[in-house]
């Protein structure tokens, strides 16, 4: 079972792991209680992923693990060994924003911006899942991302635009 026998952890309350985030590998030794969200922010300095409720209710901490959207606040960092984690920081390539980031800017898809990284990561997955057929479908499958500022109509508009002709 479990731990690599060649590297027994010095203390049973800690884990050693390789965390792969946005294509870069990080060797970490963490307290077993550390969530993926806290590892990203406190260990790796990736502050784009936000802590809202820290309890599975708001979606601000949404990241992709092996291309599926999950809540990093309810995921232990230790569970992510060998998985590919993608965060908002990895979205733009060569200094160019992702189309969804541009669409959020164009449509004013935020006010305070606190929920925005989670909204955008969720929308990246939504596009891949093919759940952008109608505005109702977008709303239903984005319902795990709460926006306290109520930017919902503009968020839907931004996603609809990137999804292309299909949406109505």
């Amino acid at each position: 079972m479990s731990q690599d026998p060649h590297h027994p952890p010095p203390d049973p309350g800690t884990v050693r792991l390789t965390l792969s985030v946005n294509g870069a590998e990080h060797e970490l030794r963490l307290d077993s209680r550390v969530t993926l969200l806290d590892a990203l922010r406190d260990e790796l300095g990736l502050y784009g992923t936000k802590k809202g409720c820290d309890q599975g209710a708001c979606g601000a901490c949404t990241v992709l693990v092996d291309d599926r959207r999950v809540l990093s606040c309810l995921t232990l960092a230790a569970q992510c060994e060998g998985r590919q984690v993608s965060t908002i920081e990895g979205l733009s390539a060569d200094g160019r924003l992702h189309p969804l980031q541009e669409a959020f800017l164009r449509h004013d898809g935020f006010q305070c911006g606190y929920c925005t990284p989670g909204q955008i990561m969720s929308a990246v997955a939504l596009l891949r899942e093919g759940r952008t057929g109608t505005d109702d479908e977008i709303r239903e499958f984005m319902s795990g991302n709460i926006c306290r500022c109520g930017a919902y109509p503009n968020i839907v508009a931004a996603i609809r635009e990137v999804a292309g002709e299909g949406a109505r």
Partner: protein, 333 residues
């Protein structure tokens, strides 16, 4: 951190995982973590010394033959909802899955974990509340004496505990006579879902027939006959991403205006996923009319246990049952 430290162990063998947890009262399984991490790290209600991560065990995947759908315990809710047999033969299972939680949570949450999710009772989840018979036996029940009950049970409930089993998925599953496959230190056994859960009685802390260390390895869902029509109706405070106030999973076969087979499960009302057998008895062999549906709803809700916060639920449940049945079986409202 105020939460107790634990050892994290990643299991790669089913037998070894079962042996390890069975031998250690302070060890607990971790699947998708949407209940377990929440209660360990956020609420501090669960205090394992060892957490055994089972997500890498080979218990993932779905197979089907003509009669049965077999689902590995570590299959996620999203994976089960996307399965073509579920979409074609079990549309109300798919509907119940997609009506639950959010896509992010459904990508994490496993089927085994969904069966074993803990109650959302806010007093149970608040360690500063001393009186909770489920958390600490014989301390009382803050939900009954307090003013905050709403998302609580009215069936199978009593003076000791009114905590709801909040799963959506389990509502059609219990109606379909799903079987749970369990691996214990003495080997494999199969337990009908209708006998898997235990009513609170005088021991609300005991929720299922499982022994410590028993691992749910999968479920077997009998596929209903092709002529069966099924639906899942969930009534809640907001349109999405919310638990049910009342939900109904119904599967009806109607021939020549008569109900020949009825399966009915209720969510949002039971301390366990509720099989509505009294209603099924009234429905079977009766004309498919709203009068029949009303009688069925009446029979099931004959003796609810309510507190002021849940007093609205029996009538909401009756109406939801009638609407769900009328949508499937017709019969003029």
């Amino acid at each position: 951190m105020t939460v107790r430290a634990f050892e994290y162990v990643r299991a790669d063998d089913v037998g070894a995982a079962v042996a390890m947890v069975s031998a250690d009262p302070a060890a607990q399984y971790l699947a998708g973590g949407t209940t377990q991490v929440d209660l360990m790290l956020k609420d501090g209600i669960l205090e394992p010394e060892r957490v055994v991560d089972i997500t890498r065990l080979p218990l993932r995947g779905i197979t089907a033959d003509d009669r049965t759908l077999r689902v590995g315990a570590l299959t996620t809710m999203e994976e089960l909802a996307a399965d073509p047999t579920v979409a074609g033969r079990l549309p109300f299972v798919r509907a119940a899955l997609l009506a639950g939680a959010s896509t992010q949570l459904r990508n994490m949450a496993t089927i085994g974990g969904n069966l074993l999710q803990r109650t959302r009772c806010r007093y149970f989840r608040d360690p500063t509340v001393p009186d909770c018979n489920k958390r600490t036996p014989s301390t009382g029940c803050a939900a009954i004496t307090g003013a905050g009950a709403r998302m609580h049970a009215i069936l199978g409930a009593g003076e000791t505990c009114i905590a709801l089993h909040a799963s959506d998925l389990c509502v059609p599953l219990v109606a379909l006579d799903t079987v749970v496959r369990v691996r214990g230190i003495e080997g494999e056994r199969r337990i009908p879902l209708t006998e898997f859960y235990v009513l609170p009685g005088d021991r609300p802390d005991i929720e299922t027939v499982l022994r410590h260390g028993d691992l749910v390895t999968g479920i077997e869902i009998p596929l209903p006959p092709a002529a069966t029509r099924s639906g899942y109706l969930k009534v809640r405070d907001r349109a999405s991403y919310e638990f049910a106030l009342v939900s109904v999973a119904a599967a009806l076969t109607v021939q020549g205006g008569t109900v020949t087979e009825a399966r009915l499960g209720l969510g949002g009302v039971g301390t366990i996923p509720w099989r509505a057998r009294a209603a099924e008895q009234i429905l079977t062999g009766a004309p498919a009319t709203v009068q029949t549906y009303r009688a069925a709803a009446e029979a099931e809700l004959r003796d609810p246990f309510t507190v002021p916060g849940t007093a609205f639920k029996p009538e909401l449940a009756r109406r939801t049952i009638v609407r769900a049945l009328a949508e499937l079986g017709g019969g003029e409202a």
